[in-house]
Amino acid sequence: MGRWRALLWLGPSLALIAAVVLYPAVALVRASLSRYSITGVHQGSVGAANYARLLEQEALPTVVANTVLWVAAIVLVTVVVSLGLAQLLNEDFPGRRLVRWALIVPWAASVIMTSKLFVWIYDYYFGILNHALLALRLVTAPVDWLGNDATVMAAMIAVGIFVSLPFTTYVVLAGLSAIPGEVYEAARVDGASAWRTYWSVTVPLLRPALLVAVVLNVIYVFNSFPIVWTLNDRNPGFAHDTMITYMYKIAFKSSLRDVGLAAALGVVNVLVILVAVLLYLRTVSWREAEA
């Protein structure tokens, strides 16, 4: 009896999970085992053939390498910069409230809008970035940031960092404000230098906040679609795609136009991110046990 009553209370959330998590997951796996015509008509099951074909795609190694670089660079730089920003915002200074609000703006703005804005900032002919660099004599000729194979990934990563900073900074800021003042007092009494205090007191106590920041950022950045899609839309081929935009191109924008194959990559994407996060968590807790 008691058990059934529990189910009654759990029912709505279970139904919600079934509808928005399990149903799409089941549909995705099912699609990845099927063949579709170019119009989307289901043509029957093909077993694991889509997964085998996925491995044959010439662009796959490039796309995987791009994805690793994309996630690693953005998360690493974002966390490091956020540590500094949060430290700054944790200090009391006139106008702090204003700066805290200003930091939220890139977070609150739609990522597509931000990406479009950066397309124009980076533009070879009209972009403000080239104007600024030329005026400062940092470059002698304008740079085609989004058309030059050597710069387009860095340009996209910069935007990724820009939109990831607010969230990460606020997570670290929350972590900082949770550190009790007594430990700093103790450090001061012991005569620790500012640097020493930071490394031996602040950073270890920030570990839970950093853990959350890294895990969530890895997931967000890996799954991020609009930045790469918008900034890379002029470039032919798959030389600058991540696994997420590549999946979309397989389904709708390349000559493959294959929903089944794209679904197979979708399943792989979910598994990759799961494994990456589990590995990370395991490494971190292992270190903690050792320490």
């Binding site: 509808a19 399990l22 170019i38 119009t39 839309d233 136009r257």
Partner: protein, 416 residues
């Protein structure tokens, strides 16, 4: 842990049940005759929705059948339609720039099923042929457009050029003269980025006497076409008369933007670009025929389609909807509002007095269509969009790119 796994399994099974229930429900609900789903691509924010909403209301008043109208932007329409079909929730009427894959999958009514003879006979013959699959009309022309050659009159005057170039030699000469003006001025804006590369490429290809196909087979890497692509690569890398990275420039936010800003001597445009230029009044421009190396100037005509999807019990409702759209006053009112070109004989007659459309209407007899009647085209087009730009980048290899496109086209032609 084990209990959690069991719970997860139960949930999974429930979700699967839900899934199959949804599928069955979708099939059942198809074509009740009480309402039809009409999916239309958005040509402009100002005109598309008001027109089709008005048409739907008129239609509902006449026969009592409701219309579920969905206006979808071009960027996501392929994806959304594909999703509808995967979920067995086909639209009843759909507008798109391709039709033959749908005809091949036997999803469509032919003209015999859903068009009255009067409507069928009013189509301009070339456009009716452009909608045929295996000898039957499945893609009903909804509207058309034609590309034309735009040039900046001020820059031409400054460069001492008398008029628009007629041949490729004159074109290169003009482009070099304009580029030589300096100050960031560009001779020709060449957009071979993924957005619409197949259109730009087709115009150059045809004006050198090449084509997509030879007979029934694909001929993308013919000698003529290799020569044409080398010519385009030379414009960028040898003569240096294009904007930077033409293989990585899109049409709308790249080439057109530069022309609208007055920085470019020449560009391939179409009537919506003319409308924007007229509204902005920043650039004094002329419209001319394409420069050609093949004697007769050829332009690209683009035909978009209306399709009627087969569902039990919807034939009559769909037929009445199509007949309503194709009434001369309706179709012409919309095409005029959107600034496109007619697809019916009656429309052509009505619109021929419009002075602004004259250059495009003049070009229409020499316009060629993309091979949309071949289902393989839907893949070839995407392949060209994604890859041809690589050929005009520094160090690009035109022959190799075309060889690969040809190889893929042959595979696409053979696949289901």
């Amino acid at each position: 842990m084990r209990r959690a796994l069991t719970a997860l399994g139960v949930l999974g099974a429930a979700a699967t049940l839900l899934l199959s229930a949804c599928d069955r429900g979708a099939e059942r609900s198809g074509g009740s005759g009480k309402s039809i789903t009409v999916v239309i691509a958005e040509y402009s924010k100002d005109h598309t929705k008001p027109f089709w909403q008005g048409l739907s209301e008129q239609y509902t008043k006449q026969g009592g059948v409701k219309v579920d109208l969905r206006i979808i932007d071009w960027n996501s329409i392929d994806q959304q339609v594909s999703t509808m079909i995967q979920a067995s929730q086909r639209p009843d009427v759909l507008s798109l720039n391709s039709f033959s894959s749908y005809a091949k999958d036997q999803l469509l009514y032919s003209a015999d099923d859903v068009l009255s003879p009067k409507t069928r006979d009013d189509f301009i013959e070339a456009f009716a042929r452009g909608g045929e699959y295996q000898g039957k009309l499945y893609g009903f022309p909804i509207l058309s457009s034609a590309r034309a050659f735009f040039y900046n009159k001020d820059l031409f005057a400054r460069a001492g050029l008398a008029g628009p170039p007629k041949t490729w030699d004159e074109f290169v000469h003009a482009a070099r003269k304009i580029q030589a003006l300096g100050g960031g001025v560009i001779g020709y804006a060449l957009p071979l980025g993924p957005e619409e590369a197949q259109a730009e490429w087709a115009i150059w290809m045809w004006n050198n006497g090449g084509d997509w196909k030879s007979g029934d087979g694909w001929a993308i890497n013919s000698d003529k076409n290799v020569q044409t692509l080398r010519f385009l690569a030379d414009l960028a890398n040898r003569y240096g008369v294009t904007q930077i990275n033409p293989g990585k420039t899109n049409r709308t936010d790249g080439a057109f933007q530069l022309f609208k800003d007055g920085r470019v001597g020449m560009v391939m445009g179409f009537s919506p670009l003319a409308a924007q230029l007229d509204a902005e009044k920043k650039v004094s421009y002329g419209v001319a025929a394409m420069p050609t190396a093949a004697g007769q100037s050829v332009t690209l005509g683009v035909e978009d389609y209306l399709m009627a999807f087969k569902k039990t019990g919807n034939q009559d409702a769909v037929k009445r909807f199509l007949d309503l759209y194709y009434q001369p006053e309706n179709i012409t009112r919309w095409i005029t509002a959107e600034g496109f070109l007619p697809v019916t004989k009656s429309g052509l007659q009505q619109m021929s007095s419009n002075a602004q459309l004259k250059p495009y209407l003049d070009a229409l007899p020499n316009a060629r269509l993309a091979p949309t009647t071949d289902p393989a085209w839907d893949r070839v087009k995407l392949d060209v969009q994604q890859n041809i730009g690589l050929a005009v980048q520094p160090g690009g290899n035109p022959k190799q790119v075309l060889d690969q496109l040809q190889k893929n086209a042959v595979v696409a032609a053979g696949s289901r």
